[in-house]
Amino acid sequence: MLDFTRAELGTAGNPLKVAVVGSGPSGFYAAEALLQSRLTVEVDIIERLPVPYGLVRFGVAPDHAKLKSVTAVFQGIARDSRVRYFGNVTLGIDISIHQLTEMYHGVVVSTGASGDQRLNIEGEELEGVHAARDFVGWYNGHPDCASYHFDLSQEIVTVVGQGNVAIDVCRILSKSVDELRGTDIAEHALDALAGSRVREIHLVGRRGPVQAKFTSKELRELGTLEGWQPVIDPKDLELNAASLEELNNPNLANAKKNFEILKGFAEKPLDGRRPLYLDFLQTPVSLSGDHRLRAVTLERQRLEGDALNQVARATGERVVRPSGLLFRSVGYRGKEMPGVPFDDKRGVIRNKDGRVVDASGQRFPRLYTSGWIKRGPTGIIGTNRACSVDTVARLIEDLPMLEAARPGRNALTEYLGQRQQRVVSFADWLSIEQVELDRGRERKKVAEKLVSVSEMLAATDVAERAAA
């Protein structure tokens, strides 16, 4: 029966109720886009962990404090009276996607890329071979990674990848403990890094210096390390015709800047600092050792094809280099979640402009996606803002299809209450954060993060008792 008494969706009396799953940048910017629409909205942000901010907390390196200050914007969004934060609630375990689409007019999945791309070469299962993202999660105090062990008694480390994560890994391995001590790096990482015996790092990638995905800002930083010197084989800077064409393409300004920085590195004589080799046009083809990694076999690559479409091809020329620790950083990858159409090849939720669709193109009603799980793990924090703004624009275009009444927040709260789920509110998060800041002050650090879910929950209990 048509209900003629109900106000139009998105106006006072009939707010548009949206659940956003994930509290990283893409989730927060989806919430912000809803708040900035002219509609009356109610936005609930659902997060697997007790603590918010996703890769800003667990991905951005601890020595990039200015970048991390974007959390002030997220805090402003979370404190808006139309927004509610539901931490410690896992989609697919505590609540299903089907339940959410029954409760809300729209659901935006912004869960990011929580897996990683493997090298798929022999020996990848050896001890000492790690995903860069596990190392990143470890030094950033991610509860899933806090108990990991990285054998920093190894002297030669290989980092495979040509993006900013690979550079972050190199930088954290090469900065002195004194340079990192004041940041919010996890204490367990600082202790382990203090005993590091790493004296040689190879940053290895299959493409050339013009194609590498590093941002110039991160690359330049490698030239400012106290104890380490970036080293490049000048031969790697001899470009083929297609790469020269790319270098002179006005739309590839980052590549040009990178190339200038690399030339600057190559011109500096070795000065006795430890070497951080930037090895281009090489790819690992097998890893060897008894039970643990001892050596990496690398194969020289050659670029073929037209400008902008060059591919790295094996030349057959191989070298074996000793290395006891390897981090692969060849891309993050989204993980499939139950009941949500997934493109396994790309590692993203199947979608058309943020509207979730199945393999045949059929719409999944009320379901939307934004951020890395929508378009793959490219771009930085701000790129995800533009992405979430686009998705929310599609959701708002669909408003006439979303009209059927939805109970929203009340139903979610009631359901989680029945399950006796320990929901972490944003006020709870602020008390966790306070504990982290207090612990940091004692240690002369920006913050000392809590690294287990139980510690986080305990911190909210203490705060609640104090308030009672």
Partner: protein, 101 residues
């Protein structure tokens, strides 16, 4: 090092930058955009977003572009924050091809 909007923005004002800005640090006049250096977190997301390559990290400014640091700091205070995309100015596309992009 703060990021600054330079000459190329004049008479274009595409505003692709403002949607990628995570901290809403762009201020718009009728003619162009400015970055508030006190709010910018130096993430560089806006640099590749600009169709006319108007945005530069100050460390990369040419000597003759240095004055843009001060202009951005001063003018950002005079104009309102804009955080959503607006249509480009009339003639923006003509100026873009003139600039060679």
């Amino acid at each position: 090092m703060p990021h600054v909007v330079t000459d190329n923005c004049n008479s274009c004002r595409y505003t692709d930058c403002v949607t990628t800005c995570p901290v809403a640090c762009f201020h718009l006049s009728d003619e162009r955009a400015y970055i508030d250096p006190e709010v910018c977190i130096d993430c560089s997301a806006c640099i590749p977003a600009c169709p006319v390559h108007a945005i530069v990290e100050s460390i990369d400014l040419e000597p003759e572009q240095q004055h843009w640091i001060e202009i951005n700091a001063r003018e950002a205070k005079r104009y309102p924050v804009v955080s959503g995309k607006l249509p480009p100015l009339n003639g923006a596309d003509a100026r873009r091809s003139e600039l060679g992009y």
